[in-house]
């Protein structure tokens, strides 16, 4: 089942190379193919066993690929992987359905999107470290072509910077993976074995070096300060749907990777350095919020809020790893971090799609060139306000559920750090309110009179994301149950 989740979009992408259709047909076909993984994942979710004695990883598949090196096609999900993969699939469908400017190359555009969907889901669904790296790298290739070909402004440069920067990170991960795996005997890349064996326990220096490799690699991807500088240009020059996927899905690979690999496989070492990570998290939270506030460019502003939000996720992970913390609090922090990943994916995905709508209408991201749009574009106003409020953590919306749990958990472990981090929420609130005021209220500039409201497809796409944001905010239980089954396992170890 999980294998099909990856293979269907992958084969779809391949089949697109041989098809000759008109542009809307490509889009709807891509939508159909891209929804298949979502349906499969929903089916997996429905069949996922969350009872107390259930195995951590379910729907496991295991075929040998290079047995001599211990590499295999291994798939399986726990609660965390399941919800993040499902969120990613939702976002991919939304991004594909979004009416994008394909510049006469619809076939390739949608083929790359399906390819990216396949490999991104692969990152979350695999249980083999080598395969994880394969998918992790391929996601860079996919996004590189999407940004470079269909981006705007200095897209080529931004694409190359993005690829080189994040590739450096993934090579750091590769070295760390090798350093970790070589401690097993016989050699294996099987995540389940690595989690059970904790191969580097008791090897101080080597474990630390391997941890540094993972933290640097995933840190670039997440990204946290000071490894975030590739993010703003990549976002600003990317087409809207690619941006949505970049923020919503690819950034999650960093934090998901931290939980799946160093947190689980090097738990002793990871716990020892949890405080350092928590400090990094707080710096990211504040830095992201402050720098975001200073941006006049709409897309840059939202890009920096990603740095801020991923800081919350990191804070939750660090709090969960800390030795001596109460288990309930640590579990809550980790659950919160996972919910934040889902919430951020949906919210920021929606916001970047909205940015795409702005670009398609005016080709301008400068906030000061806008004003009073609520008069001409009421639907756009509604969705932007909803997403912004969700992003700043308004109760009743998805962001609140996540941040509440992270902070409750973090307060019991690092009260001072959590208190400082709360400032970040305050600044975020200010920057979103200021942005909304600038865009939608006040006087409508003369050259924005003809600004068109959202089209039907755009409304439909955003409505699905908005609905999920609201449902998670009001009734999060269905989401928390599978996550809790995984976090209980992950925080029980020590």
């Amino acid at each position: 089942m999980l294998t099909a989740t990856i293979l269907i979009p992958l084969l779809g992408a391949l089949a697109f190379s041989f098809l000759r259709l008109n542009e809307p047909a490509y889009r709807w076909l891509a939508c159909g193919v891209g929804s298949a993984p979502l349906l499969l994942l929903v089916a997996v979710w429905l069949g996922f066993d969350t009872s107390a004695g259930a195995p951590a990883f379910q729907y496991v598949v295991d075929y040998p690929w290079i047995p001599a090196l211990g590499i295999g096609w291994r798939m399986g999900v726990d609660g965390i992987a399941l919800v993040i993969a499902t969120m990613s699939a939702v976002l991919f469908v939304a991004a594909i359905a979004w009416p994008a400017e394909t510049r006469g190359r619809a076939r390739e555009y949608y083929a790359w999107f399906l390819f990216l969907e396949a490999v991104s889901l692969g990152v979350f669904l695999t249980l083999d470290l080598a395969l994880f790296y394969v998918f992790f790298d391929l996601s860079l290739v996919g996004l590189f072509f999407l940004i470079g070909r269909w981006g705007h402004g200095d897209a080529e440069r931004a694409a190359i910077k993005f690829f080189v920067y994040t590739f450096a990170g993934s090579l750091a991960i590769l070295l760390a993976i090798i350093g970790l795996v070589l401690a097993t005997d016989p050699l294996t890349f099987d995540m389940r074995t690595l989690i059970a064996e904790q191969p580097l326990a008791g090897m101080d220096l080597r474990a630390t070096l391997v941890l540094v490799g993972f933290v640097v690699g995933f840190g670039i991807k997440t990204p946290f300060v000071p490894l975030h500088t590739w993010l703003p240009p990549a976002h600003v020059n990317a087409p809207g749907p690619a941006s949505a996927v970049l923020a919503g899905v690819l950034l999650k690979m960093g934090t998901y990777g931290l939980i799946r690999i160093p947190y689980s496989m090097l738990s002793e070492t990871f716990a020892r350095y949890a405080f350092v990570l928590a400090v990094l998290a707080v710096i990211s939270i504040l830095w992201g919020a402050l720098v975001s506030m200073a941006q006049r460019n709409l897309k840059r502003r939202i890009a920096y809020t990603s740095v801020n939000h991923m800081g919350y996720v990191l804070l939750g992970i660090a709090a969960a790893a800390t030795i001596g913390g109460e288990q309930a609090a640590r579990q809550m922090a980790l659950t919160g971090a996972t919910v934040e990943m889902v919430a951020h994916g949906l919210i920021t995905g929606a916001l970047f799609l909205i940015c795409g709508a702005f670009w398609q209408r005016t080709g301008d991201y400068d906030l000061e060139h806008y004003g009073g749009l609520s008069q001409v574009a009421p639907n756009l106003t509604r969705f932007t306000v909803l997403a912004s409020f969700a992003s700043l953590g308004l109760p009743g919306l998805a962001g609140f559920v996540a941040e509440l749990q992270i902070f409750v958990g973090a307060f019991s472990v690092y009260p001072w750090l959590a208190a400082i981090a709360l400032l970040g929420i305050l600044i975020t609130a200010a920057l979103f309110l200021q942005m909304l005021q600038q865009l939608f209220f006040g006087e409508l500039p003369a050259d924005r009179q003809g600004f068109g409201d959202l089209a039907r497809v755009e409304i439909g796409t955003l409505a699905i994301l908005a609905l999920l944001i609201v449902v998670i905010g009001i009734y999060p239980n269905w989401l928390l149950t599978p996550i809790n089954s995984a976090t209980a396992f992950l925080t029980a170890g020590f």
Partner: protein, 468 residues
């Protein structure tokens, strides 16, 4: 004499002679028939090589010829490289009056590279290096009316003449010190000679072999040859001698115990210098063929990583062989695309290739991504094996250096891929023909297959041995 042990070499040699004679009598428009002829010779040689795989590793032919896994696999890679380059040739040389002779020289160059891989005696090593060099100069300068080609041949020759002299000098010293050129005897020799003399002789031989490998300090010919030689010849010259030389170097350095000569440090240093210089020089290139030449230098550096840790880890030798094979297919694909595009080399001429020729662009993308080591392509498995074996052997720092270099290399590969994919074509782009297209298609498929289906090859390579 066990003639049966050199049947692959004999078939290449015989084909070369036959083709040379035939070419002198064939009409000009029939000369292309030499290409299928060469392919037949290479196939027969490969069949003989495959038959040798099952036999026990041994030193044969009066102790000068090693018949072990390393030499057999290296020769198979060389033969495959040669065959795929032959496919690129007939359309390229269609209008050349000396078309037929080309294949004779080409096959002799193949023979030289094969001899390098099997040499188990210093005299044999000299012979192999010289045969491979002399034919190489000719191939590089084959367009004798085109200044760049002549320049390439000339530079190749000048660097080669110096390096070959140093090699001969080194071998002379070795013989003076140990009274033997036989590898087996060198490995078990008694050590009563002055230490510094051994060092000098050792260094001279290493430089001589490094020349064939395009490794520092004798690497300078590579970019010129890649730029100026006919692209089918450049494809061959950037790969085949390198494969042979890598095995020759491994076989030679392995003779000396670490206490006598710290050769691991020497090889590791050469590896670092080679990959770094190659990558940094490739960075600013706007000429695709020249860039490929420098990238080829840097790839030699990666291959040397495995030589540096030889014997410390059982995976070192299979990693070296697998990496060489993956490099060969990817590099052949790149040069194949250049050939198929009629040798266009200016970066701006590649703008919009993806629109004009999507399949060629795809082959180029696959090739470059494999050279970088992006999974699941051949280059990824090759590099993964290299990293695993260097780290396992305690040379993690070397893997880190290679990793930084890999990131740098991504920049110049993307520098080419970006206009290929992101720009629109300005003029129609003409291609060469079906032979070259077949070669490109095969190489691109191998690049994919060696990654996705790496297991069978890896398993067979793991059985390979290296005799002294």
């Amino acid at each position: 004499m066990p003639v049966g042990d050199v049947l692959p070499e004999l078939s290449v040699l015989v084909s070369a002679v036959v083709l040379l004679l035939a070419a002198s009598f064939m009409r000009e428009r029939d000369q292309w028939l030499a290409a299928p002829g060469a392919l037949i010779g290479l196939t027969v040689a490969a069949a003989f090589c495959l038959a040798q795989l099952g036999e026990a590793p041994r030193i044969t032919f009066s102790g000068v010829w090693a018949l072990d896994g390393a030499s057999i696999w290296a020769r198979l890679i060389i033969l495959a490289t040669a065959a795929l380059s032959v496919l690129l040739t007939p359309e390229w040389l269609r209008t050349d009056r000396r078309h037929g002779e080309y294949y004779a020289i080409f096959l002799l160059a193949t023979l030289g590279a094969m001899l390098l891989a099997g040499a188990a005696d210093l005299m044999q090593l000299i012979m192999a290096v010289l045969l491979s060099s002399v034919t190489g100069y000719t191939l590089a300068a084959y367009h004798r009316n085109w200044p760049l080609s002549v320049e390439a041949g000339m530079k190749y020759f000048l660097v080669g003449a110096l390096a070959n002299t140093l090699l001969v000098l080194g071998v002379t010293l070795m013989f003076g010190l140990f009274a033997t050129t036989d590898y087996g005897e060198l490995a078990t020799r008694t050590n009563d000679s002055p230490q510094w003399m051994t060092h000098v002789a050792f260094s001279l031989v290493v430089v001589g072999v490094a020349f064939k490998l395009a490794a520092v300090p004798a690497h300078t010919w590579m970019p010129d040859v890649a730029e100026g030689a006919p692209p089918p010849a450049a494809a061959f010259l950037t790969i085949a001698p390198k494969v042979g030389a890598a095995i020759a170097l491994a076989r030679f350095v392995d003779l000396f115990p670490q206490e006598d000569i710290a050769w691991r440090a020497v090889v590791a240093t050469i590896a670092v210098a080679t990959m770094t210089i190659g990558n940094l020089s490739a960075l600013g290139q706007n000429d695709v063929r020249r860039m490929l030449g420098w990238s080829s230098v840097s790839q030699s550096g990666y291959a040397l990583m495995a030589v540096a840790v030889l014997g410390l880890d059982p995976y070192a030798l299979p990693a070296l062989l697998f990496f060489l094979a993956s490099y060969a297919v990817a590099n052949l694909a790149a040069f194949g695309v250049v050939t198929q595009l009629r040798g266009r080399t200016n970066l701006t001429d590649y703008r919009g290739l993806a629109t004009a020729h999507p399949l060629l662009a795809a082959a180029l993308i696959l090739s470059f991504l494999s050279l970088v080591g992006i999974p699941p392509l051949a280059g990824f498995v090759g590099k993964l094996a290299l990293f695993v074996t260097t780290i396992e052997s305690g040379y993690a720092w070397l893997a880190v250096v290679a990793l930084v270099n890999t990131v740098v290399s991504l920049v110049y590969y993307l520098h080419v891929l970006a206009p290929v994919y992101f720009a629109e074509p300005a003029r129609p782009m003409h291609t060469l023909g079906y032979w070259a297209a077949v070669s490109v298609f095969l190489c691109a498929s191998f690049t994919l297959a060696l990654g996705g289906l790496a297991d069978p090859l890896w398993r067979m390579l793991s059985q390979a041995t290296l005799l002294p």
